[in-house]
Every structure is written in C-alpha cells, then in structure tokens.
C-alpha cells in the first residue's frame, strides 16, 4: 500500500503528462470498445432484419442472392416462381402462412414490393416485433400504397398524396407507370430494416400497372388499358419473385425445405433465413474484424505512449528513487512503484474510455437508429468486453516491467548518492 499511494501522488505531481497519457489510452479504449459495441449492434441489427419466417423460396440461384433480393432489396432475381407453384406450396397442410413478394419496380430509387395483407400480419423483425402503422392503414384499394418510414420521411410524403411508380429499378427512370398513379394510405413505423426503404403495394396492383406492357415497353397509346379498365380484368399474377413461408410446426421446416429444393416441375430454392443470414454475415464480417484489428493497434499505440512517458520520467526521478531508498524503500519497492504507476495509468485510461464510449453511444444512438436502423443497446459491459479491458490493463502492467527494471537497475547503481 505504501507504493500505491506514493505512485498516485507521484502521478498527480506529473499530472499534465499523466492526464495526456490517460487521455490517449482512453481514446484508444473508447475506439476499441465502440467498434466492439457497434459490431455487436450491427450484427444484431443484421440478424434481426427478418424473423419468424421459416423459409424463403425463390427461383433457383444462390442462397445469399435470394436472401439479398428478398429481404435486403439488393440485387435482382434471375427468374420468377410461377403462381401455380406458389399456390401449391401455400396450400400445403404443413404451411401456416405465406407472404408473396413481387419485385422489379421502384419509386425514386426505393424498391416497390408487391405483396398482400399477410405481409402486415405475419412479417416480423428484431425478435417478435410486428409491423405497425405510424399513420394510416394497409392497402385496400388496387391503387393504394403503404410507405416504409424512410421513404415517407426522405421524400416528405403524407397520407393521401399520389405517387407514380417507375418501371425498373433506376433512381431516374424514363419508363414510368404514370397512367396508374397510387395513393398513399399508410406509413409504417420505423423498423431499422429494409422495410423502411420499401414502397408496398398489392400483388394485383403490380399486375395492373404491367397489364399493357410487353418486353419492358408500354403498348402504343391506342392499345393501352386505363387505370379504371384494369380494375375489371383478372389481375391474378402469372408469377411472383419469391415468397416467405411460416410453418405450422418448426419440425417440418427441413422436410419442406428439401421437398421444395427437389421439386421437379420448376427449379426452386428454399432457404432458412437464419442460416443464410449467418453465411452473409461471415462475408460482411471480414470488414468488422479488420476494424477490430485496427482498433487493437490504436490501443497498442496508446500503451506505447504511456511507456514512453514513464521511461522519459525515469531520469528526472532518480533523485526521488534515491530518497526513497534512503528512508528504507527496498529495490523491489522502486520496482513495484513503476509497475503500479503503469497499472494506474492504464486503469484510469480504461475507466475514462468506458465513460467516453457510453457518452458517445448515448449521443449518437438516436442518429444511428434514425439514419441506419442500427439499434445500439446501452447495456453494461459483457464478459467479452471485460476480458478485452482486462487484457489492456494486463498489457500495461507487462509494459510497466520495462521502466521498473530500468529504475531498479538505476537505483542499485545510484545507491544513496543523488545525481542531479
């Protein structure tokens, strides 16, 4: 204890250097901890994009590709699933519900999703959260649209406004379905998932706006079908892009998956979202591992700064050590004084780093949730975090051995003679 209080007072005497050292360690610790927290938050957010769905079914391609276009609205389907096949699977006794997904059009860069009322009933994200309406209600009329939270906010849309859907996926499109405008009847609450960036319409609406189109071009003016005329037609689609399946019993999921994958009449692919999400995360996760490595090196730089500060202080403190020796301090006291000093600096740095991390997280949390849909939990430190922080302090103590050893040798060489 003699050395602890001495080390504290000695550090306080050199408080400017000590505080700068602590600040450097704190910033590096905050970076590391921040990256770690963000990594967990991003992964959670990623994993919670879709839940409660047992299978996603699309035309045969790769699992990640299917996941990307059906859930993340990224990329395109190479082929569609026929309506007959969809109906056949949807009516299977083991299947509780299905959500059809029809993609391919967009509105000012946001994807348009054709689906049905089951989407609002069965879609789940982040555990068991349901989609809720910030305003309005699900689509009822053929030309009704429901907007995701981002779409409404970014484009400043309100209920009752009319919007026109563009053909294809470009942000600026020349082929527009402007003869069949949609009315906004609902705006969803924020989910932090790609749902926020989606315009939802009914499957029938997708058929209706394409009724007089062929090979990506609308028919000549004389042969067009007006919005009102379209209502009278049979709007059952020929095909859909993909669909989500909820099973009556989880046990049958694998059997159903295999049955779909081996379906002979049409090349299909069924994926389990959780498995595909994990595969996709492994791909994306390389980037965050790289970030973690960078952060670890920043911590190392912070600790090396501390080592430099202690080593440079040694020469001017030879007198201090000699005085301590003259009043009975043993060489090991001098040794432990410096190790304790390194430990104190690192502990203070880690402590301040934790405060900094939580302060920053509290500050940017609303922004992250708002802009990127990443929900950062202000939960306490978990065992892994504590392990990292413990390792930092441990590394600092190890580094402290170097100045301690040098001071030890100095003090043996100097004895009681005090050199100025």
């Amino acid at each position: 204890m003699a050395t602890l209080s001495l080390a504290l007072r000695s550090l306080w005497n050199r408080r400017v250097t000590a505080l700068l050292t602590v600040a450097a360690i704190a910033i590096s610790v905050a970076l590391l901890l921040g990256v770690q927290k963000m990594r967990v938050a991003a992964k959670d957010s990623f994993a919670s994009t879709v839940s409660g769905v047992d299978l996603i079914v699309g035309a045969r391609s790769g699992p990640i590709n299917l996941l990307l276009y059906s859930v993340f609205r990224v990329g395109d389907a190479t082929a569609n699933v026929s309506w007959e096949t969809y109906q056949k699977i949807a009516r299977h006794p083991d299947v509780a519900w299905t959500i059809p997904l029809s993609l391919g059009d967009s509105h000012r860069g946001y994807r348009v999703l054709g689906t049905n009322a089951d989407y609002f009933r069965h879609y789940r994200y982040a555990g068991k959260r349901e989609l809720t309406f910030a305003a309005g209600k699900p689509f009822a009329d053929l030309y009704d649209a429901v907007l995701g939270a981002d779409v409404a906010r970014q484009l400043g849309y309100r209920l009752g406004q009319q919007i026109v859907i563009a053909h294809g996926l470009g942000a600026v499109s020349f082929a527009r379905h402007d003869d069949k405008p949609f009315r906004i009847v609902g705006i969803l609450s924020r989910t932090g998932t790609p749902v926020d960036r989606t315009v939802h319409v009914s499957l029938e609406a997708i058929t209706a706006i394409h009724i007089d189109w062929q090979s990506g071009v609308q028919a000549l003016p004389g042969q067009r079908v007006s919005a009102e005329e379209a209502r009278a037609r049979d709007l059952t689609p020929d095909s859909i892009t993909a669909f989500m399946v909820g099973m009556r019993s989880k046990v049958t999921t694998f059997t159903m998956q295999r049955a779909i994958n081996e379906y002979r009449l049409e090349p299909l692919l069924a994926i389990i979202p959780g498995v595909a999400l994990t595969q996709l995360w492994e791909l994306v996760g390389v980037a965050d591992t790289a970030l973690m490595v960078v952060a670890a090196f920043v911590v190392l730089a912070g600790l090396l700064g501390m080592l430099t500060a202690i080593l440079t202080s040694l020469n001017e403190r030879r007198r201090e050590m000699a005085i301590l020796r003259s009043v009975g301090a043993r060489a090991r006291h001098v040794f432990s004084l410096l190790v304790v000093e390194a430990g104190l600096l690192a502990t203070a740095g880690v402590g301040l780093g934790i405060v900094l991390t939580y302060g920053l997280m509290a500050a940017v949390r609303p922004l992250l949730a708002d802009r990127y849909g990443i929900f950062v939990q202000l939960a306490g430190l978990n065992v892994y975090d504590l392990g990292i922080l413990g390792a930092i302090i441990g590394a600092a103590l190890l580094m402290g051995l170097l100045p301690a050893w040098r001071a030890y040798r100095n003090t043996l060489a100097d004895g009681l003679t005090i050199r100025i």
Binding site: A2, L6, R319, V327, G328, A329, G415, L416
Partner: protein
C-alpha cells in the same frame, strides 16, 4: 569500549568502485553508541561512499562493517535495505525531500517503509503527532506548515524537514552528509544545535560528514577521513608515522 556498545565498527575495510583504484582502506573505526562524530574531508575523498557502506547500500570488497552489532556484509540486499529503514536516518546536502509529498508526509516516509520506525514513532501517540513534535523541536512549529508543499519552503526549512524525517522513529544511527553546506552561517549553527539536541534526546548516534572544519569543535570527536583512509595520500603518511 566493548563491541556490544559500539554503534559502528569498521575493521580492515576496503572498497573500490568497479574498474577504479582502491578508494577506501580503513584499518579501524569505532563509533560508540550515542557518540557524535564529525568526519571531515574534501569532496571526492570517499565520504559519500563511506556513508553508502554504513547505510548498507554498498558492500565492501574486504573487511568488516558492523552497525549496531549487525555484520552488514553478511546480510542480503533486501535485509540490508530493511536494516537501513529500521535503524538509520539520513540527511543529505540538499534536495532531500520528495517534491510531491507534503511536509508531514515527507517526515512520515520512514514509517511507510519500516514497521519498527512506525511503532517507535507511535510510542507517544500517533506518528503524525511525533512528526509534528520533531518539526516543532527543529523550529518548524506552525501547524499550517505541515500541509504545505515542500517546494514552497526555504532551503533551511527543507533541511530541517529532512532532519525531522531522519529522526522519526528514533533510529539508532543518524548519518548526515553535508547537511549544512547550503545554509548560511547563522542557520548552519542553529541547525546543528537543534539536530544535536534532538539526537541527544533520542539517544541516536550521529555521524556528520562535512568539509567545513569550523564545525568540528561542536562534536564529541573530530576525525579526518583523509588520515583515517590508508588509500588516500594523507592516510598513507599517517599510517607510516604510526
């Protein structure tokens, strides 16, 4: 005088720094308990080295050093450190104090490292009270002074704080290495008188080293290190004459 009463006994003690010629070669030096010895010598004559040997920081190349009947060369490094902390107080020429500790904490330093000194300092109450008593005895009686930063003190005050620290817990041996050389004449005299009075009070043996020969008469015994040391030119002459 028997060995049992000697505070210090050197016997055929020789010391040289590594790679240097023989610096100290002392045939015999005995200091009685309670004696106040003045050891004079010019700088570079090996005074500080001798004090390092007496304090157990250095070990001799040959010969015997007994302090308080303990053979220092026989002890391990850690045991010598502990012995020094328990039984020896030091006052140096200047910069004796730890700059980041208050006056009181500087005086209490020996009690931090030596339980024996802490216990002895607590005989009449708390160690802090003993520290205050010593400071008062050395003319630093103001209570406000205790909490002061040592860097705010004058040199003379600093030396008295150093003396109070060396005396805390009544060590049997007090070693002073040019403690007055940075003081002016009046302060020097006053400091010495206070130091000696307190040594007498506590029964401590005092070994006082200085190049200032005018101080010699104030002590029980006045010795020249140069004459004592057979490795020095004057010592060789003295040895031949004897």
């Amino acid at each position: 005088m028997t060995n049992g009463q000697a505070a210090i006994a050197l016997e055929a003690m020789r010391f040289a720094w590594p790679g240097k010629p023989l610096l100290l070669d002392i045939e015999r030096l005995v200091v009685a308990r309670g004696e106040r010895l003045f050891l004079r010598g010019p700088s570079g004559s090996g005074k500080s080295t001798l004090l390092g040997l007496l304090g157990g920081v250095l070990t001799p190349a040959a010969g015997e050093i007994r302090v308080l009947d303990t053979k220092l060369p026989n002890l391990g490094a850690s045991a010598r450190d502990r012995f020094r902390g328990d039984h020896v107080g030091f006052v140096f020429q200047m910069f004796n104090l730890i700059p980041y500790l208050s006056v009181l904490d500087n005086v209490l330093l020996p009690a931090r490292f030596s339980r024996r000194r802490a216990e002895r300092a607590a005989r009449h109450g708390a160690p802090a009270a003993e520290a205050a008593r010593l400071l008062a005895a050395l003319g630093l009686g103001e209570a406000a002074l205790l909490a002061r930063n040592v860097t705010e003190l004058s040199i003379g005050q600093q030396q008295r704080v150093a003396a109070a620290r060396a005396l805390l817990g009544a060590p049997e041996l007090l070693i002073a290495d040019e403690p007055t050389s940075s003081l002016d004449h009046d302060a020097r005299r006053q400091f010495l008188e206070l130091l000696m009075a307190e040594c007498r009070e506590q029964g401590s043996t005092l070994v006082f080293v200085s190049h200032d020969t005018t101080l010699g008469p104030l002590f029980d015994r006045d010795l020249s290190l140069a004459e004592l040391n057979r490795a020095a030119p004057a010592g060789r002459a003295a040895a031949r004459a004897a």
